[in-house]
């Protein structure tokens, strides 16, 4: 059984609490970023592109049985690291769980600045898109 969204968030928060300083935290994010499977360049179509002024994000969504699976990529590695965390939380969850979730871990692990509009890194839009897909899918299910 896949863990619930709130359980995964708690896991991430406790993992991050072990870092002593920003360097360790960002080194970990960079590692995560490198571990995200790359999307092939020819699959990076404009319709999957979430435009940010600073870095670009491509997001794919598919549905398998009751679960939603997200795949995403970015041209910036730190952005990718955060994407990896979002995917870990949301992927293979039920649409309505995603739609109703309360995402608090980003704030708790001190990465909130990456989700501010001023960063223009596509992350905030990506999060909105992830939820929107889930909301749309959970509606069609009813």
């Amino acid at each position: 059984m896949k863990k619930s969204i709130s359980m995964i968030q708690s896991d991430i928060i406790s993992e991050f609490s072990m870092f002593d300083d920003w360097t360790e935290k960002y080194e970990y994010l960079i590692e995560l970023g490198k571990s995200v499977p790359k999307i092939k360049d020819d699959e990076k179509k404009d319709e999957n592109l979430i435009k940010g002024c600073q870095s670009r994000v491509w997001l794919f969504v598919e549905k398998k049985e009751d679960y939603i699976i997200y795949t995403a990529d970015s041209d910036a590695i730190i952005t990718k690291g955060i994407i990896a965390l979002l995917i870990r939380v949301f992927s293979y969850q039920k649409a309505e769980d995603i739609a109703n979730s309360n995402l608090h871990f980003i704030d708790k692990i001190g990465l909130k600045e990456h989700l501010s509009i001023t960063r223009a890194n596509g992350m905030l839009s990506m999060l909105k898109q992830m939820k929107m897909y889930a909301i749309a899918l959970s509606k069609t299910q009813k």
Binding site: W22, T23, Y26, E27, I30, C53, Q54, S55, R56, D75, A76, I77, I78, T79, H114, N121
Partner: protein
């Protein structure tokens, strides 16, 4: 030589702590910080002067108007314009360019040509696209060479009798290249074309003498010259400004209004509709005082020393490429480190309290020309030091190590 330590004391923000480190501010191309005398003037205006200008008969209004016009005089002498009538206050470089581009819609004829360059900021591209579309004129783009210099041979070959206007930047915000404006003015004028210069990146870094350069229009922003945001200047030769139709209309810019016919106010008021950013305009004089007290040539030399030192040190970092290597450069360094994304570098430097700019710098066509998504950019001002550069170089090395 200038006393940087004394200068730094005048900037409250320079002594801020960001992410637990002393702020190192290397994003001066985007905006410069304000010295205490500018902040004080702004504050004093609201404490002792606040009133609308050019209107009331009461004490405050005439006092504010006097200060407002003193600021205009100060700008006039700073750039050596012939008359205060040639100094129009706007909200920034962008608005100054738009004001002229809007006027040229009705001056340009079908098949006339406007020349811009590949290194322009979007705000010196889009207004001309719109203007040309409106007038049926042709917008032509002068290419940039590999080292970031303007391709003067192409420029010469593209100029012809149909060229009515040449619009280009004095200093490129992404490359640092200083364009040979005086020569380009001579060339353009020999074809009867007028010339507009985007001086946003030049005004607080090198001496600007509009008569010596012989430019027709010159645009700049107060916030890039140690002043407040929301204030800019359009310099235009008097006879050309007279021929240009009004931009915005309403209060302040009129002589007489009736429903049959409205006559416009004289220069420069014809272009200053509505209530301006009075505090900002008044404090612009304080920014100019600040610059003049140090001396623009001293500022230029200081920034040039920083540029040379930083360039030398950056070049020692393996796989680091500098975009823009013109011999004639201002204190702006754009770079990339092989496959690393500039955003990642920017995020990590920020963690170390260093503010730089990353991205396309509002110059997407230029980025396309060099086939890159963007760069990381360091840009200097008078308060920056060699010590800050050393810290920044160390931080770049650390970031590179973390990201690779």
């Amino acid at each position: 030589m200038i006393n940087t330590q004394e200068i730094r004391k005048q900037f409250p923000i320079i002594n801020l702590n960001i992410n637990r480190s002393n702020l190192i501010y290397f994003d001066n191309g985007a905006t410069t910080q304000n010295p205490q005398n500018v902040i004080d003037t702004e504050k004093e205006y609201y404490e002792k002067m606040n009133a609308n200008v050019h209107r009331g008969a009461h004490f405050l209004s005439s006092h504010a108007t006097e200060k407002f016009e003193e600021s205009r005089k100060s700008v006039q002498s700073f750039i050596n314009a012939k008359s205060v009538k040639e100094i129009v206050f706007t909200k920034g470089t962008t608005e100054s360019i738009n004001l002229v581009a809007n006027g040229f819609r009705s001056i340009l004829k079908k098949d006339d040509e406007v020349l811009i360059t590949e290194m322009e900021h979007h705000s010196n591209i889009v207004p001309w696209q719109i203007c040309c579309k409106y007038a049926g004129a042709k917008l032509r783009v002068v290419p940039v060479k590999e080292n970031g210099d303007l391709d003067m041979v192409s420029l010469k070959s593209m100029l012809n009798n149909k060229t009515k206007l040449v619009a280009l930047t004095h200093i490129s915000n992404a490359l640092g290249t200083i364009n040979p404006i005086e020569d380009i003015c001579k060339l353009s004028h020999s074809f009867g074309a007028k010339i507009l210069i985007d001086g946003a990146q030049a005004i607080s870094h090198i001496k600007v003498d509009v008569q010596k350069l012989n430019v027709d229009f010159y645009c700049f922003s107060s916030h890039k010259m140690y002043g407040s945001t929301g204030v800019g200047v359009l310099y235009g030769k008097e006879e050309l400004l007279n021929d240009l139709p009004p931009y915005q209309s309403g209060g302040e810019m009129i002589k007489d209004v009736s429903f049959e016919k409205t006559t416009y106010a004289d220069l420069p008021y014809k272009f200053e509709a509505g209530t301006p950013n009075i505090a900002g305009v008044i404090s612009l004089k304080s920014s100019i005082d600040f610059i003049c007290k140090i001396g623009i040539d001293n500022i230029k030399n200081h920034e040039n020393t920083l540029l040379n030192y930083a360039t030398l040190e950056l070049k020692k970092i393996k796989d680091l490429q500098i975009l823009g290597t013109s011999k004639n450069k201002s204190g702006i360094i754009s770079f990339n480190i092989n496959s690393l994304h500039a955003y990642d570098i920017g995020v990590l430097l920020d963690k170390m309290g260093i503010a730089i700019r990353t991205g396309h710098h509002c110059a997407q066509p230029l980025m396309k020309r060099f086939n890159i998504a963007g760069t990381a950019r360091i840009s200097f001002a008078v308060y920056n030091t060699k010590d800050e550069i050393e810290k920044c170089i160390a931080a770049i090395k650390k970031s590179k190590k973390m990201l690779l």
